[in-house]
Amino acid sequence: MFPSNSLNDDRDLVGRARRGDREAFTQLIVQYQVPLYNMALRMVGKPDDAADIAQEAFLRAWEKIRTLREAPFKSWLFQIAANLCYDHFRRGRRYGVMPDEEITSNVVGLGIATPDPQERAEANERTRLVRDCIQALDHDMRIAIVLRDVNGMAYEEIAAVLRVPLGTVKSRIARARAQVQEQLQRHPDFFPTTEDAHAE
């Protein structure tokens, strides 16, 4: 089984980072860079913008870490990044940015790799459709479903990141899933429903 003790590890690293230990903070960066970057990427759509947000989030966390007391570092860090995503939208960047065509054509979709070029093309298309559906959600629903289904956070953790009640988290995730489902069902060739599968 995967030995997970990251909360205790965080406490130790955060304690050292609060005393100015750069190496400890660098370890925190290594630990969270992939999930934080992917959260930002699914929120803002463009890799460069997502990387800017993640970099700024780490920088602000480093500058403010002495103010962190009891809150878990992970929630606090994601809260900073979530605020930066909202700042990004407020600055008038395009709403629902479409990914670059070049990037779309090179992404292996749905984590699926196949030796068959046609299968690979279909997987790319599935990935593009899912990504577009997420981008079409309003910001509040988008961040809730990203934190849940991309980052795998528990509802309570999401509530802490977004500073909203648990019921709001539950509602946003449910409505986001329903909207994405409705959009995906318009592409039965790529997303057959269980009923379609039974009918075959």
Partner: protein, 281 residues
């Protein structure tokens, strides 16, 4: 006169979605489960939400395009003030100090600065896995250099598990299949992502990757074919016809699909992950 069995109230969209995530309290979870068991319409809604969640969870985790760093020194939280301001501030401080000296206040509690906290504690520490279910005992006792995660998933539309290298959290082994259960003549889609691999080779032997379908200690090796994602992560997998596997009869039964990655950096570290696979009779 016997009363008719009562069907629990129809769950709301929020309840169905939270049920998928195991985020309902036990009473609500039982009520939703009871209702769904006897209601085709709600079962279909639940399946739809589950498939949607799986489609989102199956988006590839991308590697950041650059390294994130912090500066040698923290950014300044203050700026130099113009000389005139400093002079005015000094005069103001002097006046305040003189004023305080001439005051005779009763002794009282010392003011304290407030502590900063962003939220309450008690948050879940999310495991580094996308599996819906918890972990089950490993297939075999791992060595000190082996990290292992075995997902348990019954009835899920897709089937995935991840293990993270404890010595390098940017490195992870991700295994998934398109379903958990297949007919004996079915095709199984398998994907293995070697995130953070020190090698870019798309040869499974160079990567130290093996893939096996195992039951009762016996299994067949699957030959993974490599492709590359746009961000350079080596990805292996493909479609496999189950009927072509030289498995011992009876073919039907519960198997585990296991990926083992001997990280090609000379450290001897091994990441291992497995997911359940059922072949129906």
């Amino acid at each position: 006169m016997p009363s008719e069995p009562r069907t629990p109230a129809e769950p709301t969209l929020e309840e169905l979605s939270a049920y998928l995530d195991h985020e309902l309290d036990s009473a609500a979870e039982a009520r939703v489960a009871d209702h769904v068991a006897g209601c085709d319409e709600c079962r279909a809604r639940l399946d739809g939400l589950r498939e949607t969640a799986h489609a989102i969870r199956a988006l590839p985790m991308e590697t950041p395009p650059r390294r994130f760093t912090i500066p040698e020194q923290r950014r300044r939280g203050w700026r130099w003030a113009p000389a005139g301001w400093i002079g005015s501030a000094a005069v103001a401080l002097l006046l305040i100090a003189v004023g305080i000296q001439n005051l005779h206040l009763p002794a009282g509690p010392t003011a304290t600065s407030g502590s900063f906290s962003t939220n309450s504690g008690g948050l879940a520490n999310a495991p580094a896995t996308r599996s819906e279910k918890g972990a089950v005992p490993p297939l075999s006792a791992p060595s000190p250099f082996t990290q292992q995660f075995d997902a348990q998933s019954a009835g899920a539309a897709t089937n995935a598990a991840t293990v993270v290298d404890s010595s390098n959290s940017a490195r992870r082994l991700v295994l998934d299949t398109d379903k958990t259960s297949y007919p004996a003549n079915g095709r199984m889609r398998v994907t293995v992502q070697l995130i953070g691999s020190p090698s870019t080779s798309l040869q499974s032997a160079d990567q130290g990757l093996t893939l096996t379908l195992v039951r009762n200690g016996q299994g067949v090796a699957l030959r993974p074919v490599g492709v590359e994602s746009f961000n350079g992560t080596p990805i292996f997998g493909g479609w496999y016809d189950l009927a072509s596997f030289p498995l011992s009869p009876p073919l039907a039964g519960d198997y585990r699909l296991q990926a083992t990655w001997l990280i090609p950096d000379g450290s001897g570290r091994v990441l291992q992950v497995s997911v359940p696979v059922r072949i129906a009779g």
